[in-house]
C-alpha cells in the first residue's frame, strides 16, 4: 500500500542510482536552486521603470516600482496627475506592495519543497512562480487601466484629457509628456527564472516520470499485491 504522502512525494531514488546518473537526477534540483536565487535576488531589484519626458523636465521624471515600493519622482508625477484627475500612484496596488515580498518568499519555499517531490504534483508548486512575471505585468496593466479610465471628472484638465490607458511596457504619451515604460532588472530576473523553471520541469519529468510509471506498474501487478 502506497500512502498518500508517498503518492505525492513520488518514488525515492537509490543513492547508487543517483551517483551513476548524477546529471539526470541532479538537473531538476540545480535548476530549482538557480530559480530560487534569481527570485530572491529580484526582491532587491526594480521591477519596472517609467520615464516621463517633457520640455520643461530636461532630465525627465522617473518612477521605479519595486515589489514592495514606489520610488523616484512619484510626488511630482502625482502633482501633475492631479490636473487630469488621476488618483495618487501611492494608492495603486497597495495590497500587492504589502504582500509581494511574502508571495515571493512563499514561491522560494515552494520551489524548495518541489525539489523533494518526484511526481507531477511538483508542477503545482512550480507553476505559480513560472507565471509570476506575466501576472505582475497583467496586474500592472489593470491598475494603469483602472487609474487611467477613472479620472476625476471635476479635475482642472478634465476637458482636455479624455480617459486613457497608460502603456505598461513601451512608449506612450499624455499631454506634452512622452512616457517610456521598461522592465526592471528584477522583472527580467523573474522572467529568466520562469524559463529556468520550465527547463526544471522538463528535466524533472525526464528523471522521475519513468520511475513513477515503473512504480505504478509494479503496484498494479498482482504478484506484488
Amino acid at each position: 500500500m502506497v500512502s498518500i504522502v508517498d503518492r505525492i512525494l513520488g518514488p525515492r531514488v537509490e543513492p547508487e542510482e543517483v551517483s551513476t546518473h548524477s546529471l539526470r537526477y541532479g538537473a531538476p534540483g540545480v535548476l530549482l536552486l538557480i530559480a530560487r536565487v534569481l527570485l530572491l535576488t529580484s526582491l532587491f531589484l526594480p521591477y519596472w521603470h517609467m520615464e516621463l519626458q517633457a520640455p520643461q523636465y530636461p532630465d525627465g521624471l522617473h518612477m521605479t516600482a519595486f515589489l514592495n515600493a514606489l520610488t523616484g519622482d512619484v510626488a511630482e508625477i502625482d502633482g501633475l496627475n492631479h490636473y487630469i484627475g488621476m488618483r495618487s500612484l501611492y494608492e495603486a496596488a497597495e495590497i500587492e506592495r504589502i504582500v509581494g515580498v511574502f508571495i515571493m518568499i512563499a514561491f522560494v519555499v515552494m520551489l524548495e519543497l518541489a525539489a523533494y517531490i518526484h511526481t507531477r504534483w511538483a508542477v503545482l508548486l512550480i507553476a505559480p512562480a513560472v507565471f509570476f512575471p506575466v501576472v505582475f505585468l497583467v496586474d500592472l496593466h489593470l491598475w494603469m487601466r483602472h487609474f487611467g479610465l477613472n479620472l476625476d471628472p471635476h479635475a482642472p484638465l478634465s476637458n482636455a484629457v479624455k480617459p486613457f490607458v497608460p502603456t505598461a511596457l513601451g512608449k506612450g504619451g499624455i499631454g506634452q509628456f512622452v512616457t517610456v515604460a521598461t522592465p526592471g532588472t528584477g522583472l527580467i530576473l523573474a522572467t529568466v527564472a520562469s524559463f529556468v523553471l520550465i527547463a526544471a520541469l522538463y528535466f524533472h519529468r525526464r528523471a522521475y516520470l519513468p520511475l513513477v510509471k515503473q512504480r505504478n506498474a509494479t503496484a498494479a501487478s498482482p504478484t506484488s499485491a
Partner: protein, 661 residues
C-alpha cells in the same frame, strides 16, 4: 542592353552617396561663408567675430565664472555670468525687492536690524562685496557687502543666495573700507569713512579734531552659524582722517591689513563761508597716509580686555593702539583709492588718483621699518610714520587717474585709469618677475575702455591664486555706447580678455547695467559654489537654514484662532492651489501666516501676494515662511500666486475676508 543596364546600376550606386552628401549639405548648409555674409551685413570686423565667439554661449551652456558685483544705490548684489556677461539675478540686501519677496513680509526683521539709530531706512549704497576665503582663496560659501551710506555689513549665504544678517555699525555712519576679509574669514573688515562723532552724535564741525573720530571695525565671522558674532567683534579708533579702501594681508603679510585715507589735512570745508571747499582742502597735501594695522596683535589686545566700551561696543582707543604698537602710517600718494595686496602678500599696490604712478610697497621693508623704528616722524595724534623711501619697492607711471589694481596668475598686474579711461597692464618684480616676458616693474599696455573706469575685477584677481583669463572694467560712464536711455545712462561693464601676453588685451563685450552703479566686484569660478536648486527638505526655514518643525505640511493645513485673539494660518502651496483658500479674520486680529511651498521640482517657485496689506513673498521649493501683520483694514482681498507657476496659475488664489469690528 546588358551594358546599359549595368551602367545605369553603377550610376545609381554612385549617385546614392552623392545624394546623401547633398542631403547632408542641405541639413547643415551653413558655412563660414555665411558668417562672412552676416559680418559684412552688420559691419563686423574679424576682431568682432572673435570676440563674439569667445563670449557667446549657446542656449543651455553655462558660464565658467560668476561675478558678484555690488549694486550701488540699488542696495543689492548683481550676479553676472562670464564670459557671456548675462545678468543672472540680483540678490536683495538692504533694499526691499518684490520679486524675491524681500522686505514685504519676509526679511523685514533682517532689514530692520540694520536700521540706523532705529530709523526706517529702505535702501543701501553697496560698494565692496567680499567672498569668504579659506587660506586666502575664495571658498564659495558666503558673501559680504557693505552699505556706505549707513555703515552696515550684510551676510549672504551662497547656498541659497539669500541675505541672512544685516549689522549696523554702532560707531560710525559711513563706511567705504568694507568689506574685506582676512585670509580665513576670521574677520570682516569695515573701515569707516567720513569721520563723525561716535555714533554720529551731535557736535559742531568746529570741534572736528577733538570730537570727530576715525575707526575700523573687525567683525568676527562665525562660519558654523553663518553669522557675524557681535560679541566677539571690536573696533580700533583711528585719527579722524577719512579712512578709505582696505585690503587684508595674506601669506607674507598675513596678520596685517592696510587702509588708505584721505583728508589727512583734517579739512572741514565751508565753501559757503568762503573757506576752501573739501575738494581743495582735503587734497592740499601731496600725500595722505597708508594705515598699516596688525590685526592679530589687536585681537590679543581685545581679548586681554584692553578696550573701552563706546556706544556699547568694545573699542581699542587710539592711545591703546599706539601703546600696543598696532598702528603705523606711511605716506601714500594723495587721494588714494585702491590698496591692493599682491597674490603672495609681499607687495602692496596703491594708486593716488591725482598721481600718474602706482606705488608699490614691500611688506618685508615695512616689517623691517617697524622693527627698526625707521620713522620719518609722527602725525599730530602721535602715530608713527614709517619713512616712505624705506618701505617703497617701486613706482611705475601707468597713466592718469589710477584707482584700483588686480592681479593675474602670471606676474601681471592691472590698474584702472579713471581719467585715461583705460586699463593698464604692468609687470610685477621680485619673485613674480621671471614669469613675464617684459622687464620687472614696467608698463606693458593700456586698453581703452568706455568710459571712466572705477574698479576692475579679474577672475579671482585679489586672491592668493588669480586665474587670469577675464577682467571686467566697471565703467562709470557709458556716454555713446548704448541707445540713449533718457538723461540717466546705464553703467558699462566691459569684459576684457587677459589670457594672452603682452599688448593683446582686447575688449570682448559691453554689458549695460541699468539698475544701479556697481562699484567693486569679485569673480569666482562657478564650480566652487555649492548652490541649492531646491531647499533640502520641505518645511525649510532659510533664516536658520534648517527644518522648521512648525512649518505647515500637507494634511495639516488649518486656521487656528488662539486665546489671545491672534490667528495662526497654516497654509501649503503646490501647483496650482493654496490650502486653505478661504481665510476669515476679524479686524484687529494679529495674524501669523505660515506658508510652505511643498514642491520638490526645480524652479517650482510660488509667489504669495496680498493686496492692500503690502505683502509679497517668494516661496522657493521646500521653503516655509511666516508673515506677521495686523488685519487692520476690513474688506475682501483676493490673494494669489504671483509667479507663473503652472498652466492654472491664475486659479492659484484664495480670498482673505476681514470682517469689520
Amino acid at each position: 542592353m546588358n551594358i546599359k543596364w549595368s551602367t545605369g546600376r553603377r550610376l545609381a550606386v554612385l549617385l546614392a552617396p552623392l545624394a546623401m552628401c547633398g542631403f547632408a549639405a542641405t541639413a547643415g548648409a551653413q558655412s563660414m561663408r555665411d558668417v562672412e555674409t552676416v559680418a559684412k551685413d552688420r559691419g563686423l570686423t574679424t576682431a568682432d567675430l572673435i570676440a563674439a565667439a569667445k563670449t557667446y554661449l549657446p542656449s543651455g551652456q553655462k558660464d565658467e565664472y560668476l561675478m558678484f558685483a555690488s549694486g550701488g544705490h540699488a542696495g543689492q548684489i548683481f550676479v553676472v555670468g562670464l564670459p557671456s556677461m548675462r545678468l543672472l539675478r540680483s540678490i536683495a540686501v538692504f533694499t526691499p525687492e518684490p520679486w524675491q519677496g524681500w522686505g514685504f513680509g519676509v526679511g523685514d526683521k533682517i532689514i530692520a536690524e540694520g536700521f540706523p539709530n532705529g530709523k526706517s531706512n529702505l535702501w543701501g549704497d553697496t560698494h565692496h562685496p567680499a567672498l569668504s576665503e579659506t587660506k586666502g582663496d575664495y571658498d564659495g560659501q558666503f558673501l559680504f557687502i557693505n552699505d556706505k551710506i549707513n555703515a552696515r555689513v550684510a551676510v549672504i549665504d551662497l547656498r541659497d543666495w539669500e541675505t541672512k544678517q544685516i549689522i549696523k555699525n554702532p560707531l560710525t555712519l559711513s563706511d567705504h573700507g568694507g568689506t574685506f576679509v582676512t585670509p580665513n574669514t576670521e574677520y570682516i573688515i569695515e573701515g569707516g569713512q567720513y569721520a563723525t562723532p561716535w555714533g554720529s552724535d551731535y557736535a559742531p564741525i568746529s570741534e572736528y579734531k577733538e570730537q570727530y573720530k576715525g575707526s575700523v571695525t573687525l567683525w568676527k565671522f562665525d562660519r558654523n552659524r553663518g553669522r557675524i558674532d557681535k560679541t566677539q567683534s571690536f573696533a580700533i579708533e583711528l585719527p579722524p582722517y577719512w579712512q578709505d579702501l582696505s585690503d587684508a594681508g595674506k601669506l607674507a603679510s598675513d596678520g596685517f591689513f592696510f587702509m588708505n585715507s584721505l583728508n589727512t589735512e583734517l579739512a572741514t570745508g565751508g565753501i559757503q563761508d568762503k573757506k576752501p571747499p573739501f575738494e581743495a582742502g582735503a587734497s592740499r597735501n601731496a600725500t595722505d597716509f597708508l594705515h598699516i594695522i596688525d590685526w592679530k596683535k589687536a585681537e590679543q589686545v581685545f581679548k586681554a580686555g584692553k578696550v573701552e566700551q563706546i556706544k556699547g561696543f568694545p573699542v581699542i582707543t587710539l592711545k591703546t593702539a599706539l601703546a600696543e604698537g598696532l598702528l603705523h602710517l606711511t605716506p601714500e600718494p594723495r587721494s588714494p583709492h585702491g590698496v591692493d595686496v599682491a597674490p603672495k602678500g609681499d607687495f602692496i599696490v596703491i594708486s593716488g588718483k591725482l598721481d600718474p604712478h602706482v606705488t608699490i610697497y614691500s611688506m618685508e621693508k615695512i616689517k623691517q621699518a617697524i622693527t627698526s623704528r625707521t620713522y620719518s616722524g609722527t602725525d599730530e595724534f602721535g602715530v608713527p610714520i614709517l619713512d616712505f623711501d624705506s618701505v617703497v619697492e617701486a613706482r611705475i607711471e601707468v597713466g592718469l587717474g589710477p584707482l584700483h589694481t588686480q592681479f593675474g596668475p602670471d606676474g601681471y598686474a592691472y590698474t584702472s585709469l579713471y581719467l585715461d579711461s583705460a586699463v593698464a597692464r604692468w609687470t610685477l618684480g621680485g619673485s613674480y618677475g621671471s614669469s613675464t616676458p617684459e622687464p620687472d616693474w614696467t608698463l606693458v599696455h593700456k586698453t581703452p575702455v568706455h568710459y571712466n573706469v572705477g574698479h576692475i575685477a579679474a577672475a579671482e584677481g585679489d586672491t592668493v591664486s588669480p586665474d587670469g583669463k577675464y577682467l571686467v572694467s566697471l565703467n562709470k560712464w557709458s556716454v555713446d555706447r548704448f541707445v540713449p536711455t533718457g538723461p540717466l545712462l546705464p553703467q558699462n561693464l566691459q569684459l576684457l580678455d587677459i589670457s594672452d601676453d603682452g599688448t593683446n588685451m582686447p575688449v570682448l563685450y559691453d554689458m549695460a547695467m541699468g539698475v544701479g552703479e556697481p562699484h567693486y566686484a569679485q569673480i569666482i569660478k562657478a564650480d566652487k559654489l555649492n548652490t541649492w536648486t531646491v531647499y533640502p527638505e520641505v518645511g525649510w526655514d532659510p533664516h536658520v537654514q534648517n527644518i522648521n518643525p512648525m512649518a505647515p505640511k500637507p494634511k495639516m493645513e488649518r486656521v487656528q484662532r488662539n486665546d489671545d485673539n491672534s490667528v495662526d494660518i497654516y497654509m501649503t502651496a503646490i501647483r496650482s492651489h493654496f490650502n486653505p483658500e478661504h481665510i476669515y479674520l476679524k479686524q484687529g486680529d494679529t495674524v501669523r501666516w505660515h506658508i510652505t511651498n511643498t514642491e520638490r521640482a526645480v524652479d517650482a517657485t510660488h509667489g504669495f501676494a496680498v493686496p492692500v496689506y503690502n505683502i509679497t513673498a517668494s516661496l522657493e521649493p521646500g521653503e516655509s515662511v511666516t508673515i506677521e501683520f495686523v488685519a487692520d483694514t476690513p474688506g475682501t482681498f483676493p490673494f494669489y500666486c504671483s509667479e507663473f507657476c503652472s498652466a492654472l496659475h491664475l486659479e492659484m488664489m484664495g480670498y482673505l475676508m476681514v470682517e469689520p469690528k
